[in-house]
């Protein structure tokens, strides 16, 4: 397919990119790895008049440890995360999540910043970022600000980023020794995108759950943390019984996406099943 015509600009620095974004406003789209935007343009579903390519700003591609916080540059590829020793050590569930994304070719090019800013509700990162309590760092004309991941996803393909703001970094607390993370996706066989996905981070002490973060995506228009489940799990024994009880609460009151492939009724059940699997995986429980 051939995209509609557009103007192409390459930004050589973050400042230059922000300047261009301010100048062109909503006529422009940011091009990072291009793994979501380019296919949409080829199908002419997206028709930006101007493309600002930030793909060669190498200073945005890094994974570092700052105290207890892992900092990930916006242009870090999925493959970088999948293969990073630092991620494997500090946030292994993120490496697992990155590995789940599409195929190797896409992971070699697609970026974490691009994926988060694209905000596809069935993408892999959103529930994991929610469970990991990530912070998004954005820079715009008025400087840099931090956005909690809890406030980041607004609606499908829409985030809290302003018109002139670039996602430059993701900050994630390193997992503590008593914390366990897990992520599971049931993928649509056509795309590999989620039909249901779920991520958890569980803190344990003497066989008790002291803190839980539980996040879901793909079956709702906006990925979310389920705070009632989190509250329920608090101070409970880490047993199969506990998680079975908790699973009854999954997707409660939620408006669930349904289509010819997987209707809402099925996805609601699937979310429960996936939650059980994720919790078993995190807590290392056998059924």
């Amino acid at each position: 397919m051939i995209p509609a015509s557009f103007e192409y600009f390459r930004a050589n620095s973050v400042d230059e990119a922000i300047e261009m974004m301010a100048k062109y406003g909503d006529e422009a789209k940011i091009l990072a790895g291009g793994q979501s935007l380019i296919p949409m343009m080829k199908l002419r579903f997206a028709r930006p008049a101007k493309l600002i390519d930030i793909g060669r700003i190498d200073s945005l591609r890094y994974i570092t440890l700052d105290g207890d916080t892992v900092k990930i540059g916006g242009l870090t590829t999925h493959r970088d995360l999948e293969t990073s020793n630092l991620i494997a050590e500090k946030i292994p569930v993120l490496a697992e999540c990155a590995h789940e994304i599409a195929d190797l070719q896409i992971r070699n090019v697609g970026t974490i910043g691009g994926s988060l800013a694209h905000a596809d509700p069935s993408a892999d990162y959103p529930p994991v970022m929610l469970a990991l309590d990530a912070t998004v760092v954005a820079r715009g004309q008025n400087g840099t600000r931090e956005i909690s991941i809890n406030d980041f996803f607004i609606s499908p393909f829409t985030t809290a980023l302003g018109q002139d703001e670039l996602l430059i970094e993701v900050k994630i607390p390193a997992m503590k020794s008593n914390e366990k993370g897990a992520y599971i996706k049931i993928a649509h066989p056509a795309t590999g995108f989620g039909v249901v996905n779920c991520a958890v981070k569980i803190a344990l002490s003497n066989g008790k759950i002291t803190n839980a973060r539980v996040a879901f995506g793909s079956f709702v228009t906006v990925p979310y943390r389920d705070e009632s489940i989190e509250k329920f799990l608090q101070e409970k024994e880490a047993t199969v019984d506990t998680i079975k009880q908790a699973s009854e609460m999954v997707a409660e009151g939620k408006d669930i996406i349904g289509d010819y492939y997987a209707d809402a009724d099925y996805r609601r059940n699937l979310a429960k099943a996936v939650f059980l699997r994720v919790m078993k995986k995190a807590l290392n429980l056998d059924s």
Partner: protein, 784 residues
């Protein structure tokens, strides 16, 4: 060492893997322009107006053509299969206008052709064509389309029925009244599509008094024949070239509107025009397959014997009849429905139904997978009802081995021997152990299912008088030329077309053994109607058995002619000469010999030939088989179903097939592997879904799932070899066998796994959601 029987890699692999193939898209001609089609967005509607002004004035646009522009100037695209005694609707009704005139009948129907200097300009201009429709009620599925008050897809008919063809034999009423049990089921086999990795493409060049069409075709001569008929161009003025083609699976048999209109447009513009289908376009504009609804009833005895079958099938043809789709819906389906079993009485009516959807036609197996699906689904239902092991039930019903085994539908199985595949299957499967494992696993709360199916294909198309008698407006013999060059090298021309099968390699093996020439001295060419003799192309598992036999015959003729020349040069009579390993020699004194290469040089220079023998060493042969070929086999699939999500994991897949004489075991196994993947895909992942009013829901790879490599289990493939007497090689086609057997093997395995939930039958596609629903809509029995 003989070449036949060796696992030789395809000659084209190295070239294609390195990106050195030449597909239509790789070909660029001087002054070439690009075509883009404007397609209907509505499933059924009247065209109120088409405004092309803005598009015509857009940058780079050369022409915009609509249906009204060509109405009186070109013919329609017609079906080549007219099923006798079927009340098939007239060509006037079933043929496609090359561009819609006044009315559209499915989403994707071509409405206008925009031609521009560049592809980009053509796409931009196509968006500017403004078509105004008055929408009409549409009908997309069979059950709705056959209702009395359904919206009619065509004027001039009273129902949406394109044809009804009945096969009846034996005393049906008697066996149904005397049977111990009647077992009845409605079975729906969902729509899917062949989906070759290369979409369709063509370049039409009618600039120098001749028309050349480069096209993604499985059968270039059929395209030439259609161009002559639809466009009125003398056939000798037409050259059709099918270069490297990236898979067909049936999708590239049909003659489509796009190439016909492109050729006409090139004659108007006097410029070559290229069109390359996009993947999204492929889903609305290239043929679909399956989509059969079948109501069937089996008469059985308590000991498991099946006495009779009666029923009706309805195939969803889409809005028009495809090149061979009437045969797919009727003959190719109904004749093989009794499969490998001894059935006394049979009464089965095949119906073809018009709907407002894309045209249905041949999808790897074409009518036969649907038949074997129904048959083998029923055999499992019967086994379950009677409490007989599914494999044992089949064993009790097999036709005997033999060379002239008549089926209830009038076929003659000439090399059937199920005892051979059964015995091989026993060796490689340990079926009882798998059943034991299943039983134990169930006790542990694991849902294991086993599908074990027997299949038979009718293929190797085909005896021309027979296909003529059942309505195909074509022959099905095949042609070949074998030609020695002065240097002793050989060129082989074949009327078939290799687009992945590896026919070039297989044919070279046949020639190598027949003439004693090394493989690397042989070049096999195909796909250019100016170069090769008339032939019918590759589909219906006919390449090796029919095309390869023509090659063999031509090589034999060359060998015989060479003998006359060798005898003359050795000063002996031809009767005193023998031939082996590439040498002619005196029977009484093998040291008196000439190589076939030496003979070829003599033949080509012509200095010293026997009286009455023409120079040159080449021969052409036509081969028309006396019978179809009937490969058969047993496939086993074992799955585990996860009851909480409906997910399916394939644990084991075993294929035992009798493909007759296997020329190249590597390629034969690859065909089985590919076919099984096709069948797994159609069973579990692939689904062409329309809304009730004809909007396509699965219009891209975002929705339509092909099986990916990591979805596929290890496939164990084994062969038995019962030679076909219908051709000199003894070969049977195995291109479709895998797809035929696998779709139902997988389905039966999944349904078997659901037995503890009380599920007796489930229609596909077997997606997790549908399986989960089946579990939870059952009595909830045994739910964990």
């Amino acid at each position: 060492m003989t070449a036949i029987g060796q696992p030789i890699r395809r000659f084209e692999d190295d070239r294609l893997i390195r990106g050195h193939g030449q597909y239509v898209e790789d070909i660029k001609l001087a002054k070439m322009v690009y075509g883009v089609f404007v397609r209907s967005q509505v499933a059924h509607g009247l065209i109120k107006s088409i405004n092309t002004e803005e598009a015509k004035n857009a940058k780079g646009v050369v022409a915009v053509i609509t249906g009204n522009d060509i109405k009186e100037k070109v013919g329609k695209n017609f079906t080549a299969w007219i099923v006798p005694n079927s009340n098939q609707v007239s060509a006037e009704i079933s043929s496609r206008p090359l561009l819609a005139i006044d009315k559209v009948r499915y989403v994707g129907e071509p409405v206008a052709l925009v031609i521009a200097e560049s592809r980009e300009e053509a796409y931009d201009a196509a968006e500017l064509v403004d078509v105004e429709y008055e929408e009409l009620p549409a009908v997309a599925n069979i059950e709705k389309a056959i209702q009395e008050d359904a919206p009619l897809v065509h004027e001039g008919v009273s129902r949406n029925i394109a044809l009804s063809w009945q096969i009846k034999n034996g005393d049906v009423e008697k066996v149904f009244s005397e049977a111990d049990k009647l077992i009845k089921q409605r079975i729906y086999i969902n729509r899917a599509a062949p989906i070759p990795i290369e979409p369709r493409a063509c370049i039409a060049d009618y600039t120098n008094g001749r028309l050349t069409l480069w096209i993604t075709s499985q059968n270039p001569h059929i395209h030439r024949f259609y161009l002559a008929n639809v466009l009125g161009i003398p056939e000798q003025k037409i050259r059709v070239i099918a270069p490297d083609v990236g898979g067909g699976f049936g999708a590239k048999i049909d003659v489509y509107n796009e190439e016909l209109i492109l050729c006409y447009a090139s004659s108007l513009l006097k410029r070559p025009i290229k069109w390359v289908e996009t993947r999204s376009e492929h889903f609305v504009a290239s043929l679909h397959g399956r989509d059969f609804l079948v109501d069937v009833e089996f008469a059985v005895m308590n000991d498991g014997r099946v006495l009779g079958i009666r029923g009706q099938s309805y195939a969803n043809m889409g809005a028009y009849l495809g090149t061979v789709s009437p045969g797919v819906a009727s003959v190719l389906h109904g004749l093989i429905l009794p499969g490998p079993y001894r059935i006394e009485a049979f009464d089965y009516t095949t119906n073809a139904v018009f709907t407002n959807t894309m045209i249905l036609d041949a999808d790897r197996g074409a009518g036969r997978p649907e038949a074997i699906f129904v048959l083998e689904r029923m055999m499992d239902l019967i086994a379950d009802e009677l409490g007989i092991d599914p494999l044992e039930l089949r064993r009790r019903n097999y036709l005997p081995a033999g060379e002239n085994i008549q089926t209830v539908t009038g076929l003659s199985y000439d090399s059937l021997d199920f005892s051979k595949v059964l015995s091989k299957f026993g060796e490689v499967s340990d079926y009882q152990a798998l059943r034991d494992y299943q039983r134990k696993a169930r006790e542990e709360g694991k849902y294991i299912g086993i599908g074990v199916v027997s299949s038979i294909d009718i293929c190797g198309f085909a005896p021309s008088p027979v296909v003529g008698a059942v309505g195909l407006q074509a022959g099905q013999w095949e042609s070949a030329v074998v030609r020695f060059h002065p240097t002793g090298k050989v060129t082989v021309l074949s009327g078939t077309h290799s687009h992945g099968q590896g026919g070039d390699t297989t044919y070279a093996q046949i020639v190598s053994d027949t003439l004693g020439v090394p493989l690397d001295s042989i070049e096999v060419l195909h796909g250019d109607t100016d170069m090769i003799p008339m032939g019918w192309g590759t589909y219906g598992s006919r390449g090796t058995s029919t095309g390869g036999s023509a090659v063999f015959k031509a090589a034999e003729k060359v060998k015989e002619k060479g003998k006359l020349i060798a005898a003359h040069l050795l000063k002996l009579s031809p009767e005193e000469i023998d031939f082996s390993n590439g040498n002619y020699f005196a029977k009484t004194d093998p040291s008196k010999k000439l190589s076939i290469q030496e003979v070829a040089l003599h033949a080509n220079v012509g200095w010293n030939l026997p009286a009455g023998v023409e120079p040159g060493l080449e021969a052409q042969a036509f081969f028309d088989p006396p019978n179809f070929t009937y490969p058969f086999g047993i496939h086993l699939c074992m799955v585990e179903v996860m009851p909480d999500t409906g997910e399916v994991k394939i644990l084991k897949y075993i294929a035992v097939d009798d493909g007759g004489k296997i020329i190249n075991p590597l390629l034969a196994e690859a065909q089985i592997h590919g076919g099984v993947v096709h069948g797994i895909g159609h069973a579990m992942y692939e689904n062409i879904a329309y809304t009730d009013d004809g909007q396509l829901l699965t219009g891209s790879f975002n929705e339509y799932a092909l099986p990916k490599a990591h979805f596929i289990p290890r496939i164990e493939s084994y062969f038995t070899e019962t030679p076909s007497p219908a051709n000199p090689l003894g070969a049977k086609g195995i291109g479709e066998e895998g797809a035929i057997a696998a779709q139902i093997a997988v389905a039966n395995a999944i349904i078997d796994a659901l037995e503890p939930f009380g599920v007796k039958h489930l229609d596909g596609p077997y997606t997790p959601a549908r399986i989960w629903k089946a579990i939870h809509q059952s009595n909830g029995k045994n739910e964990n």
